[in-house]
Subunit: 472 residues, 3 copies
């Protein structure tokens, strides 16, 4: 082991516990917050500032110097100035040569510039070692110490040692550095803090639209129809009854929509006889949204479970029970147990509960820390096998619940099917086609295609082209 390794020397001086000085260019809000935090963590901080007028808010123990002077005092320089002022740094190119420049800037919009700020900085100052970092941390959080969400600091850069130095500072501040590789990752890191659940947008809008449709559908059939034809004002149904018809319909439909793209993919592959052609874009996007669709379906299923369990506590429910029991008592009939009814009631409840239980299991395995600790085979087993089992149970739950009403004309108010019938469309379609797809003859064919077999290898021209090219 080479004891005098310059690397080791630079990173952590063995002989003294003093931390290395850090220079910060710019005395804006984030520059000050970061400097404050660094001073608290034992780093001497020197600010580089054009004027000393605005320095009144700078942390107490920091030094303030001109840019060039400040830069000379430290190996690591935090560039806490805005991209549009980066030009000015070229005048300091000589002083900054060989220094580690940490680009902490953020943009206002996604992909605002053709290249990331950090790459732009690296182009301006080719002699310096640019590291991207700290941009995902909030100034407010740094100051208040409440860093629940943002302990992770994404770091990227082309120089490994420079990256190591910055990562050590990150650790020194009590944060967790995450190495994202070379400076090419800077664009992604700069876009990161601007996102607001980008993967959730499509599933949430879809759910909103579908939810509104089901809501008004149920409102029409359960409240308005009753009001018009039976002259019963059940407007309070809006609070629990109507939502509890919308929630299961949403849950079941969205759960079906999770498995529908897989069905489409299989059909497309079977039709094309190859897996080597891209799926249409809408299918790709849909497949990537399956996890989110599933979690929203789970949320609706949970709401359905709670809204159902609360039934006996409702004033409406106790009124209905009273009325029913008293009328039975007055009619002097012997109360006998309808066994068919008991079977139907118990089995649809049991199906629903078991389906919901499996659905919650699916949800738990999609937690990042759980899904990271299973391998691909285990993940597929849970998401595919258990998922289909849950879908079957939930579909059966809705079918048995509907039971005898399917063929009963009185269930079709205004000649419209009841909401639970609508909710069965997607899952039943999925299950029927899936049932066909697992027929041995179809399944074998599909498996062959997925292992790379092709009905007619069409790309021979292209392959010739490649061969020709490679032969050149």
């Amino acid at each position: 082991m080479n004891k005098n390794s310059s690397n080791t020397m630079a990173l952590a001086p063995n002989t003294s516990n003093k931390r290395e000085t850090v220079c910060i260019f710019g005395t804006g809000d984030f520059g000050r917050a970061l400097g404050q935090k660094m001073i608290q963590s034992g780093y001497p901080v020197v600010y580089g500032s054009r004027s000393t007028q605005i320095s009144s808010l700078i942390p107490k123990d920091a030094e303030v110097l001109g840019h060039a002077e400040a830069a000379q005092k430290a190996a690591v320089i935090i560039i806490a100035i805005q991209r549009q002022h980066y030009n000015f740094l070229t005048t300091l190119a000589e002083v900054l040569h060989g220094k580690v420049l940490v680009d902490i800037s953020n943009n206002l919009k996604l992909n605002q510039y053709p290249e990331s700020n950090a790459e732009y900085l690296a182009q301006l100052l080719p002699g310096s070692k640019v590291v991207k970092g700290f941009n995902t941390v909030s100034a407010w959080a740094l100051q208040s110490g409440t860093l629940d969400a943002s302990r992770q600091v994404f770091i990227c850069g082309d120089d490994v040692e420079a990256k190591q130095m910055v990562m050590n500072i990150v650790r020194g501040l009590g944060l967790t550095p995450v190495d994202k590789g070379s400076l090419l990752a800077a664009q992604e890191i700069e876009n990161y803090p601007l996102q607001l659940f980008p993967m959730w947008k499509f599933p949430i809008f879809l759910s909103l639209g579908l939810g509104l449709f089901f809501f008004f559908y149920s409102l029409a059939l359960d409240v308005i129809h009753t009001y018009i034809y039976e002259n019963n004002n059940f407007s309070f149904f809006i609070a629990i009854t109507v939502p509890n018809r919308v929630f299961p319909a949403m849950a079941l439909t969205l759960f079906g929509l999770v498995y529908l793209p897989g069905i489409f993919a299989a059909i497309i592959q079977l039709y094309r006889g190859t897996k080597y052609r891209r799926f249409p874009d809408w299918l790709d996007r849909w497949m990537l949204a399956r996890k989110q669709l599933g979690l929203i379906a789970l949320a609706f299923a949970s709401l359905h479970a709670v809204f159902t369990l609360v039934t006996p506590l409702r004033a409406f429910s106790s009124w209905r029970t009273s009325r029913q029991i008293i009328s039975q008592a007055l009619s002097n009939e012997t109360v006998t147990l309808d066994h068919t009814n008991a079977w139907l009631s118990d089995s649809y409840l049991a199906m629903g509960m078991l389906g919901f239980f499996l659905f919650v299991l699916l949800g738990i395995t999609s937690l990042p820390s759980v899904s990271n600790s299973v391998n691909w085979r285990e993940f597929r087993f849970v998401q595919s096998k258990l998922g289909y089992l849950a879908l079957i149970l939930c579909t059966a739950h809705a079918m048995i619940y509907g039971g005898k009403w399917f063929l009963n004309p009185s269930a079709y108010k205004w000649y419209l099917p009841d909401i639970y019938m609508l909710s069965l469309v997607v899952p039943c379609a999925v299950l029927v086609v899936k049932f066909v797809l697992i027929f041995p003859c179809v399944d074998k064919h599909l498996t062959r295609i997925r292992q790379g077999w092709e009905r007619k290898p069409r790309y021979s021209e292209r392959s010739n082209h490649i061969i020709n090219k490679s032969a050149v």
Copy 2:
């Protein structure tokens, strides 16, 4: 800092953003999928192939060359060919000298070969730097972009710089490299994707066996016995009533089985008077399965909770309520509240709910991300103190539920104890022995043993032997 570090140069050229060329040997399914993904991520890809006949499916922008030519174009070579063809690579030893070879192979069975594929490759080509990686990623997932489960790429290798280069490529593809250390870890990494919940096998089979036993036991007593002796056809009990007798029995028994091995271990240590002898194998295996047993117990407890809460919604339940109220009304008695009954009913429900609540807390702390953020002392506090409290509450719940029936002969249908009595056996045994073990005199003794004290240090002969050996 040495600015001309060859390391830095090799890893990430500062002057250009172009990513380094990667060579892939083999044009099979995974080789093509990986190449496609690399091209999408900006890496120039060159395939090394024996013949160009099969190259028709190769990604469009890739080059295809002979093996030797292809290898010369890149510093990193992905070996996407099967282990049985590795021999052929020795003919290229000269070209591959100093190159980074990435072994991505998987086997069909656990521990198929005496040494891992990567170690075998390293033996064949001692001049190359072998890195294991990518084998845990699925080709299908790479192509479809749905990498939920397998963002983590386990990497191991003996050469640190080679490993860094591969880890940078992994990051470049949007995946997360996990450094598993030296090439010795390759065996483990190769076994990983073949596993299907290996830790869960024993607990699941145990639960299945126990569950079937309880199911038929309850079926016999609750359905068949009623049918024969009371002539009541309660076959619909199979849907909810019988499961809801099996679930709590399973939950309580399995919960007891979580703490039983700890009791055995303490007894064995007390008996032997030392902690320096291995436990029997079955006990070791049992102790390692405690977490899984506990989670299965929690699953059954959750099912029990839901199946119980759904009771008032059952047709059977509303029939029973009607019958009861009408008979009370007809008999013209004043309905008085039985205070003992109210106490028993409320306290067994409260015990059950509090026990279940603590049980869920235990479950949450066993989520990987939560258990990683507590220290050993905190983990033991939760799993041991809170765990025993939950066990006590759940056991009390079952005992108070049973209440007056323990001594009532009519509870013993066919002279068999009711199912809740069976479920109390294990937890009661655990709690009684635990109660003895925390007696100060026993506890002090046990603590001394666990801190290293021995009743009779038996190993003096062996120690001499060691001293002799070391003296040689």
Copy 3:
């Protein structure tokens, strides 16, 4: 790439798979356990011991030598002796020069010594490379193999290569090294295993105090008052009814206390006209405890949900239902549905369930693995927007539940307000002030302050001082 890099050579010899010898100083409990584990993982282990008397318990395949001899055999030496004996190591300074010393010691109390043990060791032996590690792992867990909580091994040290060597050993034992930076982190690492939920202490004591108050308050009004004035012995209310009045009161009050410090902070900033002054200490501590307060509130809300859902299963509840229905039947009234009542009942239930649902969502996003995968903007959106929505729903739930009783004198037993009125105090205060704070004029002002604006920049003197200092 420099093929003969000493680094690579030292870390992992390419030519042989044998792991490097590790030396352990000290044959105490942890030294033995660690040695055993290392031998199992394929590391040759040599113990350094002053006498060979106590060596009888040393793992079978380990060698035992004198300290100096043992140290010469390995590059890495585990110092498994207590801090008070570190002095003795100075006599071996020459042998230990250039070696990697791993300090695995723990203290009995937090911050027992002015400097960490590892830093003390580094001072004693300036020629050695000290790495802190393994202290968070339990000897018991190492031996029994049950390492659920402590797979993470925190490592810190000033020498990067030494740290790499130790991290490789950690990985070799099947554990996960976590690099905490330079040796300055040793103090934190040594304190870590001594902590028992330090962040939870204040929230738990607060909850206990508040809970006891609410419990006795409810006991007085719901049990004792009823007993005295209505002569009804409802002592069994202690099991479910009283807790289920305490739980929601606790949940709502604690939920309010989560958002109260943010309100205080805004008021203080508005009053001071600046954000550049530290909040009072109590406010800082309170803000840091918000997550814990929120989770405890969620726990109480969950208990409230379960205790409420179980209502129909209580003996008391079925008695009350029977009595009510029979009295209705006997009085021969027609049972009519009270629509206002139905509206109130359904809407307070719906509010409660939706509020609880959002509350659970908040809880899920505070799981470490989930909160790590969202960015700062997303985290604030969930915790602030969804959090306030949940608070509004839960507060409305309690208000509608109270409903007509607010102005009814009979609700004030002993002239005291009911418990649900008390629980509304904090959340209502929070919501009212928050409502004022989001008025455009106030909000704009506050936003400006939070972006760095100041009413009167007071620190001009200090800034001059800084400029002067830096000019010197």
